[in-house]
């Protein structure tokens, strides 16, 4: 039942913002359903597969999905993610995290103003 509630929230969040929804699913699985961090991440990823598929289908029927640009970004990203998660095991610097947080915040401000 709580799983259904988390799913509903995650789906709404994901479709509204065009993101996977891991930002909400992982913490909710950990806090509400007492998942350990790693299974929470793995399970969230698999759920996001279904959510992103549903979101794509729903937006596509309304004519908002642009396949070319999506492929241009998405296919290189799949290779990048493999490299990134391999790096994660070796590289754990606070500076890098803070730099990334700063970058995201800067883009956020750019989008708001």
């Amino acid at each position: 039942m709580r799983l259904v509630a988390i799913g509903l929230v995650a789906g709404l969040f994901s479709a509204l913002f065009g993101v996977g929804g891991g930002v909400v699913i992982v913490p909710l699985l950990v806090v509400v359903l007492k998942f350990a961090p790693r299974p929470a991440t793995g399970t969230s990823l698999a759920a996001i597969g279904i959510i992103a598929l549903a979101g794509t289908a729903s937006y596509a029927t309304r004519g908002h999905v642009e396949v070319g640009p999506a492929a241009l970004v998405g296919i290189p990203a799949a290779f990048g993610a493999v490299a990134g998660s391999a790096l994660q095991q070796r590289l754990a610097t606070r500076t890098l995290s803070l730099a990334f947080a700063f970058l995201l915040a800067a883009v956020g401000v750019r989008l708001i103003v």
Binding site: G11, V19, G55, A77, A81
Partner: protein, 136 residues
């Protein structure tokens, strides 16, 4: 042509950062599509959902091999989410695009704060991740 190469590179970089920080690629794909390729906010979000699929499929497969995926829970979440998705799509298409863009900007700032908070915590998450790295 230059823009195409640049966006491809940004996609790759987005994937690397997603893998590194455990955030989905979406937070990076939406601005890349909007600012880099000039898509409107709504189309950028819609296309981002398609763009994250290859990364998510590859990632799920790897996590599955590590034994980290609880499939019944994932399926339950995913199916319940389909209803939420429909509501989210309706809200997003009904909102004016500049409101949607500002909401997304706000989300980026929240995610940035979350990452900074994790980094500044006494026991940084990446170290714990390393300790828990599963045996192949």
């Amino acid at each position: 042509m230059t823009a195409v190469l640049l966006v491809g590179l940004l996609g790759f970089a987005g994937g690397v950062l997603a893998g590194l920080f455990g955030v989905g690629g979406g937070v990076l794909f939406v601005p890349t599509l909007a600012l880099g390729l000039g898509l409107g906010q709504l189309n950028a979000e819609a296309s981002s959902l398609l763009a994250i699929l290859p990364t998510v499929v590859a990632g799920s497969w790897r996590q599955h091999r590590y034994g980290n995926v609880r499939w019944r829970a994932a399926l339950g979440l995913g199916l319940a989410a389909v209803v939420g998705v429909e509501v989210g799509v309706r809200i997003a298409t009904a909102l004016p695009e500049d409101v949607l863009r500002r909401l997304f900007g706000g989300l980026l700032i929240v995610v940035a704060a979350q990452i900074a908070w994790r980094a500044l915590r006494p026991r940084p998450a990446p170290m714990r991740e390393r300790a828990e790295r599963p045996r192949r």
